[in-house]
Amino acid sequence: MENNSLEKPLILEERPPKTTPVNAALTFAWRALLRIRYIPEQLFDVTAFPIIFLLMFTYLFGGAISGSTGEYLNFVLPGILVMTVSMITMYTGLDLNKDIEKGVFDRFRSLPIWQPAVLVGALLVDVVRYSLASTIMITLGYILGFRAEAGFIGVILAVLVILFFSFSLSWVWTILGIIVRSEKALMAISMMLLFPLTFLSSVFVDPSTMPNWLQRFVEINPITFVVDASRGLIHGYDVTSELLTITYISLGLIAVFGTLTMYFFRNKE
């Protein structure tokens, strides 16, 4: 190493102005996109899950529950869409956990930037991932014979509602990603929360066919509201009250878990 070439760039007299929070978040989003280019397997969950889930549940339950798979597909697709995207939100926490474990998180936290940008940037890219999963599932659905009564607009609206809810739900996983020490434990906890939440809902069957005690849980499960709202938007019936409830739940999730996330983020030991 020659000393002259080494010394010149070492010290930079000028200091750039501090980045805006939006720029910082977008830069973190850019990093997440670059990572996907190097590790395309990262997209496995958003491509394979929708396909496997849709095929599996349509043909497994279709005959038994609705008598025909075609009719069941129209009923179940909005539900499986909600379930799949909700499941995928868990990877937000896993990615964050990996950054922390590797040590690169320390660098981010010692930079003079708007600190939440690390998380917001990651969540922005996750919303892109959720959209990809939704697109794949809906396309496959149409190929298999799914038809939306309310047309394409209804589908788009439903996807937007699902994205909004999933973004809010992600903040639950960011907390866990920060405080849980090992990736395995994090995976286990996430599954333990997600399985009951997604299955004990109106995703697969009409809650009126369930025993009373179960109905009571299903009726207050946030996933049920999102599923019902999506079904309504896609097939064209009024779901104003569900939409309102989802708005309250989502804003509540962001307020509570977003705040807690920032607290744990700042005080990470």
């Binding site: 000393n3 010149k8 010290i11 590797k102 040590g103 690169v104 660098r107 010692s110």
Partner: protein
């Protein structure tokens, strides 16, 4: 701003960090003058990383206070972050991205335009002899290249104070010398460097002021010369080629000092603290 703010990069007053019951840092006070290399010396588990993470605003002190580059560590954390940079003990860049992408990414984060960030990245890659690996993923770098890109990432905007946690651990002698050259050049240009090391030789070579830290307490401080001549903390660290030699020497030392030396198997090194000068001379000889 008072006088001391202008002279000291770090002024810590009785800093404590407790993890549950364990006090990883147990009341450390120190002053680091600007423009020097300060070295924390000690084997693993002494509290070096914890101390550095506190000073870099990553951990909140349980007790005590400190100023870093004249800014209060707690009340002015943002200003502190603007004047420092940290190269952590482990990965401090994204291993999945290429070296250049990492530097551009950090350049963008600290406020450069896309063009400026790319120019800065290329300058640093050239200076650190990494142009040939600019487009390679960092996880495919050798140990020495890793450390160089870690440090390059820390000086994308020049910090006034640079923390380096074990900058040469696990490096071969040639890569280690390259990192030493970089550190010396930075200091010549006016950067204050605060590093940790478990090698006496490294502290001796680089640090103007050495702090010996043990179980969270600063047990001695001084220049390399002062420490070498003071009785009671003749600390000796020996590196080995293989584990067999390490084990043999460890058992000899245990017999001589009636206390087992600290053995570090990952780095094949062993360290002893010798209270008795004559025995120490015999052991080394």
């Amino acid at each position: 701003m008072n006088q001391s703010n202008r002279t000291y990069a770090v002024e810590a007053d009785q800093l404590v960090k407790a993890f549950g019951k364990e006090r990883a840092v147990d009341g450390i006070s120190l002053k680091v003058p600007k423009g020097i290399v300060y070295g924390f010396l000690r084997p693993n588990g002494a509290g070096k990383t914890t101390m550095i993470r506190m000073l870099a605003t990553l951990l909140k002190p349980t007790e005590g206070q400190a100023t870093v580059m004249g800014h209060d560590l707690i009340k002015e954390a943002d200003e502190v972050r603007r004047s420092i940079s940290l190269t952590g003990q482990f990965a401090s860049v994204d291993e999945e991205l290429s070296g250049r992408e990492n530097l551009v990414f950090i350049g963008r984060l600290v406020g450069f335009s896309r063009k400026e960030a790319k120019e800065r990245a290329d300058d640093l890659l050239a200076a650190f002899n990494l142009q040939h690996a600019a487009k390679r993923q960092v996880k495919k770098y050798s140990g020495g290249m890793r450390r160089r890109i870690d440090i390059a990432a820390s000086i994308v905007i020049s910090p006034e104070l640079l923390f380096l946690d074990k900058p040469t651990a696990g490096l071969d002698p040639r890569s280690r010398n390259e990192v030493w050259d970089i550190i010396r050049a930075l200091v010549r240009k006016g950067t204050t460097v605060f590093l940790t090391t478990q090698y006496l030789e490294e502290a001796d070579q680089l640090a103007d002021l050495i702090g010996v830290i043990d179980r969270g307490v600063l047990i001695a401080e001084g220049t390399s010369e002062e420490l070498k001549s003071s009785i009671g903390i003749r600390s000796l660290i020996i590196e080995f080629e293989n584990e067999k030699d390490l084990d043999e020497t460890a058992s000899i030392f245990t017999k001589m000092f009636t206390q087992a030396p600290e053995v570090d198997r990952t780095h094949l090194s062993l360290s002893v603290t010798m209270k008795d000068q004559s025995k120490a001379a015999k052991a080394i000889g």
